[in-house]
């Protein structure tokens, strides 16, 4: 499998001059074909000078219900009235021609007038000429919708996931700094559900719906935190809502600090924190005043925090960083539980399984690492990328096609994307992970002390709160991908699984939406191949993991 994926890359590199023509619009998996459905991108010719300075990230935002009539975080009244008027006008238009089908007709004069009257800028105007985007705004004003939020250069773009329109329906430009990370909370109680972190360290919270209602190209009704980097002026690296945190969110910065904010507080209070005494040690400081926002600073590591992820219920927070360590914290206790070092180099991304039993990490060693919370160590390395692994995610919507649902053999499907432009899908079957065979069995003696530190990976019980050193190559079981597909021409930066599709995004701001093999699709023919494909990597000698029988 590895060889074949190498082969793939070498053929692709020879055709690199011709670029996109070499890319297929589908890829096959044991469960069927994933087909390229839509592509989303930013308006062409956009700020090429800004390229390379920022890396595009994508956030999925689902607006569920009608908005609350008024939000406690409403902007100055004049502004809010203005947008209210606009939305009313839009509703009228929407009622008259709002059906989705019309959006592809073009030449919708009514909605065009909205955008041109409200904005003198050429950018919105040029979006307007693609026409369908205008009716899109209309049809989504008070309905629910699924949106993609992505950053390119100095702008945030919002696009409707379910429209085949390539161009975004909304762009928001930042004058002073570039937006670099964002997060959406679909269960937000009041209006503010979208977080945006900037390279200057500044952070905004806004209502996504309010942005969609407004036709301008500036952020509206925003709360501004860490203004001009007053608390921390290093780049925001990753941002996340605390699940069930009642409006609390965390921002990880390039200097190894993470701040906890509460969106209900304005960011005006004095938030000075004591000087960090030991850069190498984890420490938490709380703000001295109850009005302060941020309310706490966690110093996590030396160098950048590259990614953070909360477990589903918000009990745990995982961080990965420049120092190559994955760290897992008990969020409410503010305690380090476990963690470990990459094989080598920085870790770039991390993600939890839905049941919070496993964490995926990806990094500069080209490996996808599977970390077990139960064992507090790495249980598998996925080999298959030909460059750094920049995005990982479990596919929580996937159910093993050959399982009856009650089987003991739990199978996890996950995906990874890399700077090699490839999307890889993996199956993690706990029954199949095996402890690799020892090359040099200990010459008698007790297994615990026999081969020293190198083999301790599989022998020792790991105490709470300790970080594991990098395991040795021979001590970690290897996984091979189920499928490897070159999805973009540019290095990738992230992936998202939804119920219907897989989204891939490249560093330069192009998003591709791959539809899952449909239920009605030719499943029968493809499913025949499942056993042979998934068994191909089954090693001959195996002692099994999971049932903790892997002593020696």
């Amino acid at each position: 499998m590895i060889n074949s994926s190498n082969g793939m890359i070498s053929t692709s590199s020879t055709s690199a001059n011709t670029q996109s023509p070499g890319l297929k619009t589908y890829f096959k998996t044991p469960e069927g074909r994933y087909k390229l459905h839509y592509e989303k991108t930013h308006p062409s010719g956009l700020l090429h000078y800004a390229h390379g300075k920022t890396v595009t990230q994508v956030t999925l935002a689902i607006i569920k219900d009608k908005p609350a009539p008024s939000t406690p975080t409403a902007p100055p009244s004049g502004f809010s009235t203005g947008s209210g008027v606009r939305s009313a006008a839009a509703r009228l238009l929407g009622a008259s021609n709002g059906s989705r089908a019309l959006s592809f007709v073009g030449g919708n004069g009514g909605s065009k007038s909205i955008s041109s009257s409200s904005s003198s800028s050429g950018r919105i105007g040029s979006l307007g000429t693609s026409c369908s985007s205008n009716s899109m705004i209309n049809s989504n004003f008070d309905g629910k919708g699924t949106y993609l939020i992505f950053n390119v250069g100095d702008a945030i773009f919002i696009t409707d996931l379910n429209s085949q329109d390539k161009d975004p329906i909304k762009s928001i430009h930042f004058s002073n700094s570039n937006p670099v990370c964002h997060a959406f909370d679909q269960d937000a109680k009041d209006g503010h559900d979208l977080l945006i972190g900037l390279s200057s360290g500044d952070v905004y919270s806004v209502s996504l719906r309010q942005q969609l209602q407004d036709v301008g190209k500036k952020l509206v009704g925003a709360h501004h935190y860490n203004k001009d980097g007053s608390v921390n002026n290093s780049r925001c690296m990753s941002i996340a809502w605390v699940p069930g945190g009642d409006g609390a969110f965390v921002v990880a910065h390039a200097d190894g600090n993470l701040y906890v904010y509460e969106k209900s507080k304005d960011g005006a209070g004095d938030s000075s924190f004591p000087v960090i005494k030991d850069q190498t040690q984890f420490s938490v400081s709380h703000a001295r005043y109850s009005k302060s926002n941020p309310i706490a600073r966690w110093h996590i590591c030396q160098g950048s925090i590259n990614g953070i992820a909360f477990s589903n219920e918000g009990a745990y927070l995982a961080t990965v960083g420049r120092d190559g360590y994955l760290r897992v914290f008990d969020y409410s206790k503010e305690q380090l539980i476990c963690g470990g070092k990459s094989y080598y180099g920085a870790l770039l991304c991390c993600a939890w399984s839905m049941d919070a039993k496993y964490i995926l990490t990806g990094g500069e060693d080209d490996l996808v690492q599977v970390w077990s919370m139960e064992d507090r160590k790495v249980v598998a390395w996925g080999e298959g990328h030909n460059s750094w692994v920049s995005g990982v995610a479990f596919d929580s919507y996937w159910s093993s096609p050959n399982s009856d649902g009650t089987g003991e053999n739990v199978v996890y499907r996950f995906g990874s994307v890399g700077q090699d432009t490839q999307l890889l899908l993996w199956d993690l079957e706990m029954d199949e992970i095996v402890v690799p065979i020892r090359r040099c069995p200990p010459p008698g003696g007790s297994p615990t002390f026999s081969t020293g530190s190198q083999s301790s990976h599989w022998d020792s019980v790991i105490p709470v709160g300790t970080l594991q050193p990098a395991p040795s190559m021979r001590d970690v079981p290897k996984l091979s991908p189920v499928v490897a597909h070159r999805v973009h021409t540019e290095p990738l930066s992230g992936l998202v699984f939804t119920q219907e599709c897989v989204l891939t995004v490249c560093r330069e701001g192009h998003v591709k939406i791959w539809m899952r093999p449909g239920a009605s699709d030719s499943q029968s023919g493809n499913s025949e191949t499942i056993p042979s494909t998934s068994l191909k990597e089954k090693p001959l000698l195996s002692s099994k993991i999971g049932s903790s029988t892997y002593k020696q």
């Binding site: 060889n3 070498s10 690199a16 080598y344 180099g345 920085a346 080209d366 030909n386 290095p491 330069e508």
Partner: protein, 370 residues
């Protein structure tokens, strides 16, 4: 220039490493290939240390004949003994000597930094070997091994058990590759060792150094026109061949083959491929699972879109700060700026600054240090 120096001093402030000197090197007309490599070598801590030690000792012996080694040692000692912390030095004697020694470097044409590094290391080794022989005063008539201008291999006399002299240059840079060939007829594995001072890697678009190293050691089948003469079968046979690293060097120098001869064009072309290189690296293509960790300390960067022109600069890590050396100029850069030298994901990009030679030093077990 002086102003630039003080700017760097200001940037470092009280973090300026004690005893360290950051000096730009004057360009004598297309000598940036030389300057960029010299900076990388200067900030190769064990190499500099041993060169200065050698210089101190050889001075006691008395003025030996000038050669490339004494010129290099002289230059390094000149830099390290400067009163000022920053500034510019003219490596005049060294460059003159280099041009005298090798006609390749005599012209004012654009030169290849990797060729220069290779020439220099082999030359240093030759000088040290000759000196050692002179000390032994054994009239052994082993002429210095033949060098090919481009080959990184310092070919060993085939199998003849002449005790190879291990100089401090060897101790720093030399590694051993083993070339395993398995005859597909009789299954006999023939292993042939060769030494190297650097690894020249083929590169691919949007790949990593890790991946290039894997490809370097991937199995290759010898067949058709390219069969293998099996000693056991006494005939040409199909065979499988792979290169593994038997002894990883203390200083791992990786050369990215960015200049590729394109047959259709009848000329060399620069590959601007994006090849990412991590700040820490482990070798997976070793004979034993050594898991030796390396840390990146210098990058020689080729600037420009073609092979016959352009410019060389270097990035150097010194006392946990990254510095950018561009001939006379020295600047401090952020660690994250190193990634702007990975290359371009698309052809015809405006970015033409590409990492060309990478210098990694093994961390942890430093058994190679003298």
């Amino acid at each position: 220039m002086g102003a630039a120096g003080s700017k760097l001093e200001k940037a470092l402030g009280d973090q300026f490493p004690e005893g360290e000197r950051y000096f730009g090197l004057e360009n004598f007309g297309n000598t940036c290939y030389c300057n960029s490599v010299l900076q990388a070598l200067y900030f190769c801590a064990p190499f500099r240390e041993q060169l200065l030690e050698y210089y101190a000792n050889s001075k006691n012996i008395g003025d030996a004949e000038e050669n490339l080694l004494t010129c290099l040692a002289d230059l390094f000692s000149q830099i390290s003994s400067q009163k000022k912390k920053t500034g510019v030095i003219a490596p005049k004697r060294f460059v003159q000597r280099l041009k005298k020694q090798n006609e390749l470097f005599r012209s004012y044409m654009h030169q290849d930094a990797h060729e220069f590094l290779n020439f220099l290391l082999n030359e240093l080794v030759d000088i040290l070997e000759k000196e050692a022989q002179a000390v032994k005063s054994e009239p052994e008539t082993s002429s210095p091994p033949e060098k090919t201008a481009n080959g990184p291999k310092h070919a060993q006399a085939n199998g003849v058990s002449k005790e190879p002299l291990v100089t401090w240059v060897h101790k720093n840079f030399q590694g051993i590759l083993t070339n395993e060939t398995r005859c597909l007829q009789c299954e006999t594995v023939t292993a042939r060792d060769e030494t190297f001072f650097d690894l020249s890697l083929d590169i691919e678009q949007n790949s990593s150094i890790t991946s290039c190293l894997k490809n370097f050691s991937s199995t290759e089948t010898l067949n058709a026109e390219d069969k293998f003469f099996c000693d056991k079968c006494c005939s040409l046979q199909e065979a499988q061949k792979r290169m593994k690293i038997k002894k990883p060097p203390h200083i791992l120098v990786i050369h990215l083959k960015r200049f590729k001869y394109i047959e259709q064009l009848g000329r060399y072309k620069k590959l601007s491929y994006r090849v990412v290189f991590p700040l820490e690296l482990k070798l997976s293509n070793t004979v034993e699972d050594a898991d030796i960790e390396y840390s990146l300390f210098a990058v020689v960067v080729h600037v420009g879109s073609g092979p016959n022109h352009g410019h060389y600069v270097s990035l150097v890590k010194s006392h946990n700060h990254w510095l950018f050396f561009d001939d006379e100029n020295v600047e401090m850069i952020d660690e994250s700026a190193v990634q702007t030298f990975f290359g371009s994901a698309q052809e015809y990009s405006s970015n033409t600054d590409h990492g060309y030679i990478l210098f990694y030093e093994s961390i942890g077990a430093s058994n190679n240090k003298s």
